[in-house]
């Protein structure tokens, strides 16, 4: 399932509005971009690709926020575990947020290369 609509700055503002939860929210959305997952699988996936272990309370704080903003949706529970999947709005917000982060990252790396040389 691919959503090709480009994220806008407004989409990015939605995720940035999460404040201190923007970090966990970005990680969760990035994980769900690969397919639906339940809480434990999400934790493991995020730990694997980002090296960050989301604590249970933090994970569900972010999950309930994302769900209330319509960025993810809950699927039918499987053996008491409920998988979540990315929505179109969530994909747009993630794309915009990551694009903004990439601009900052590219700028930082370029300036480092110019002034401090390549590593």
């Amino acid at each position: 399932m691919a959503h090709r609509n480009a994220g806008t700055p407004a989409d990015d503002a939605v995720l940035a509005g999460f404040g201190r939860y923007a970090g966990p929210a970005t990680l969760i959305l990035s994980s769900l971009a690969d397919g639906a997952k339940h809480g434990y699988a999400l934790t493991k996936d995020v730990e694997e690709f980002a090296g960050v272990r989301l604590a249970p309370g933090t994970l569900y704080e972010a999950l309930s926020r994302l769900e209330s903003q319509g960025m993810i949706e809950a699927l039918k529970a499987e053996d008491r575990r409920r998988p979540y999947r990315l929505t179109a709005a969530g994909a747009a917000a993630l794309r915009a947020h990551l694009a903004a982060q990439r601009r900052a990252t590219d700028t930082g790396l370029r300036r480092l290369a110019v002034n401090w040389g390549s590593a």
Binding site: G57, T58, S64, A74, A77, R81
Partner: protein, 364 residues
């Protein structure tokens, strides 16, 4: 798949049961509405986490923090609209409930501020009247400082402003409640509105009757100039009589008339019932988006006036408080310091509720 240490079937079952018991205890940090939605899946996650890290203070603290935040969000003081069971309701309904909770919390915090603020105001008025009496005696030392006068006039204006805002806020809520009661509204809504409405009416009646019967003990203005009419000052004094330093002096309190002591014990309960009933009405009235926006704007104005009120009180306490070292009969005491602390707390709650309402209205 949740990893598990190698164990016998019996040991595994015992470990699993112990982990579930611990997870169930941790889930209790969260409010009922949150648990109804997330408890099952959250418990599974916790059981997995406990299997990996049996002892983790960080996990306990993280869950406790999450639970307290969820409780604040449920009270409309933080966070976001909590969705119901998947597919059972839409986001708009969840946001409507969250907005109603925020406005209800905003109203309750403002009402508490008004009650404790009125007690401060009453104290200032008593000081004003007695200072005027003492001034009539030859050779009497001046009793009032500029800070006392500024606080008396400023706080009087702020109280009038808060009362005007309260009337403006109450009107559309009462009109909405009347409309819901006459047209029916959602199933069961009549009963859910009628109960707090009747309770509120009864509590307000009790306050008026009780306040009027005790207000005769007010020292009176003695025909002297007062910033507010004597009857109003007497009533406010009587209704907020429970905000008193005499609780710390049981011997002196015992000398009060029985009816006055009974009223001092009963009136905070009646006031709490009135505030809780009004908050329930706001929460259950299903206000239209237009009325909700209006109420949120009034809330912002209310927070501004409350901030000014608190600043005046702070200036008064600094100039004439218990640490100022004045030995005149009327000066601000520790009860006023404690009241100012309560005012600061209620203002913080009101500001937080107002910000949450604003965020919910703007869809963030």
């Amino acid at each position: 798949m949740i990893p598990r240490r190698e164990c016998t079937e019996h040991d595994c079952r015992a470990e699993d049961a112990a982990a579930r018991l611990r997870a169930a205890r941790l889930v209790r940090w969260y409010p009922r509405q949150w648990r109804e939605r997330y408890a099952d899946e959250f418990t599974e996650l916790l059981v997995g986490d406990i299997a990996e890290r049996p002892d983790s203070l960080a996990r306990t603290l993280d869950v406790a923090r999450g639970g307290l935040l969820a409780r604040l969000a449920g009270a409309g003081l933080a966070g976001f609209a909590l969705t119901g069971r998947p597919g059972s309701c839409d986001l708009a309904a969840a946001r409507g409930r969250h907005l109603a909770a925020s406005l209800s919390a905003l109203g309750a915090a403002s009402a508490l501020f008004l009650i404790i603020g009125a007690a401060q105001w009453s104290q200032l008025l008593i000081g004003w009247v007695w200072a005027a009496r003492l001034r009539q005696q030859p050779g009497a030392a001046p009793q009032l400082l500029a800070a006392d006068r500024n606080a008396t006039f400023g706080v009087s204006a702020a109280i009038l402003g808060l009362l005007a805002l309260a009337a403006l806020a109450a009107l559309p809520v009462l009109v909405t409640v009347a409309a819901r009661l006459t047209t029916g509204g959602a199933p069961g809504q009549r009963g859910r509105l009628a109960r707090p409405l009747v309770t509120l009416a009864a509590a307000l009646t009790a306050l008026v009757v009780g306040g009027r019967s005790v207000e005769n003990n007010w020292i009176g203005t003695g025909g002297l100039h007062s910033p507010v009419p004597g009857g109003v000052a007497a009533f406010i004094w009587a209704v907020t009589l429970f905000v008193s330093a005499y609780w710390a002096h049981p011997g002196m309190l015992a000398a009060f008339p029985d009816a006055e002591r009974a009223w001092m014990a009963l009136s905070p309960l009646v006031l709490a019932i009135a505030v809780a009933s009004a908050a329930a009405l706001v929460r259950r009235a299903d206000l239209s988006p237009r009325v909700a926006r209006f109420e949120a704007r009034l809330g912002v104005a209310c927070c501004a006036i409350m901030t000014a009120f608190l600043a005046l009180c702070a200036a008064w306490l600094a100039a004439d408080g218990p640490l100022a070292g004045r030995s005149v009969l009327f000066h601000a005491g520790w009860i006023n310091v404690a009241s100012a602390a309560v005012l600061a707390l209620t203002l913080a709650a009101a500001v937080q509720a107002s910000r949450t309402a604003g965020r919910t209205l703007s869809g963030r």
